[in-house]
Symmetry: C2
Subunit: 239 residues, 2 copies
């Protein structure tokens, strides 16, 4: 008996969409400070998503992204005028795909698997990015944290996928380039794949993602193996 995969769900930013161009623009606007600004911005964006989730103070992801940018500029002591802020924010509307992504998504579609995006982003943000990255037609669902008014790693967000496909968590392959997201999704019960593009260290959270690779194309092989592997064998490997 083989394991059934009902769908493959992808995290959006950093996993499907290359956010590198945001850092590039930050460096153009603030020479010598771009990397630091980008890093602080991203960290603060996540921090605000977590604090607001724990405290039940939801605010849409685009807005907390702007809040995090303003905080980061002030923390670094750089002057962020309206024009610079708008340019950095609108950079999210023109992201590209990582080079291997379109081929990987196509292969998964051809294997007959439904593909979804499971993201903190709002549907509007994601729709723009899907178009910009040339990914129209690949996904049959965009599952946004907005519909449950909290963010990852709150289980309600991951539950959007099991609800959408009316299946168990381990019937969803969840793909993220964020180690913390991949770990928390493993806690939730998803079959998880960490796309560790940057060679980041593993988290010390007592749980590893079910599999790890370097590129989105590695997911294609993983899904193929998963479909061929008997369920009992998988259960033993996990125990």
């Amino acid at each position: 008996m083989t394991q059934t995969i009902q769908a493959v769900a992808f995290d959006a930013y950093g996993t499907l969409f290359d956010v590198h161009s945001v850092a590039t623009l930050a460096e153009q606007l603030f020479p010598g400070r771009g990397a630091e600004l980008s890093k602080t911005w991203r960290q603060k964006q996540l921090e605000y998503s977590w604090l607001r989730t724990m405290s039940a103070r939801y605010k849409p992801f685009g807005e907390i992204t702007r809040d995090a940018l303003r905080y980061s500029a002030r923390a670094l002591g750089v002057v962020l005028d309206v024009a610079a802020e708008d340019r950095l924010m609108s950079q999210y509307a023109s992201l590209s795909a990582f080079p291997e992504n379109l081929g990987a998504l196509r292969a998964l579609r051809e294997a007959g698997l439904p593909l979804a995006i499971l993201t903190n982003g709002t549907p509007e943000m994601v729709d723009i990015s899907v178009k910009s990255a040339g990914m129209q037609g690949f996904f049959d669902r965009v599952l946004s944290a907005e519909s449950v008014r909290c963010y990852k790693t709150q289980p309600e967000v991951y539950s959007l996928a099991t609800a959408a496909y009316a299946c168990r968590p381990d019937e969803i392959v969840f793909v993220s380039s964020n180690a913390w997201d991949a770990v928390a999704a493993t806690w939730f019960g998803f079959d998880t794949f960490w796309v560790n593009r940057s060679g980041a260290p593993a988290e010390e959270l007592d749980t590893a993602p079910c599999a790890t690779g370097h590129l989105l194309s590695d997911v294609v092989d993983y899904v193929r193996t998963r479909r061929e592997r008997p369920r009992g064998e998988r259960a033993r490997r996990r125990s």
Copy 2:
């Protein structure tokens, strides 16, 4: 009619206890990398507390502190042997008080106010730090996140104080040197005081702490003013 203050509750690490000696030891062990290691360690410690709270995967604070240290050493590419790890961890057992703290706590006690510690730390960790910092006898309660098996900013943690003193949130003055903690406690409804020792930028969370100062001794003046201010006036100021 004056506003009633039922108790003053303090965050522990960074607010009551000076954790600077931990950074100093990190620099001795890893010359040139101590500040970076300390910063990453602290950030990761908080991150793990937030992720585990959202995902209902509680683990005691001392253990996640050790996990965060191991992650940080690996992320920085420094070799953390058992001896170095144990020295850094045990540094938490010999923290000192900030210079003005004992005088400030004494003044609040003499004003007849019950004082509490409201902390992510376990009671064992905090008891050791209280002794090390010479604060025995000042606090009538140590309220630990351990008893609710989740971390700040989950409301259950802040609720420990209202439950302990059988009062409304705005009858507790909550003091923290962490801006995010002071903001989330304000969301909860506490009367909050942010001890911004380092001149950190304010958070972009649409809410400011009720008051801000630079030293714990500033809390003494704040509490005095609060007791003299009519309730109606305070309500107007907040609206």
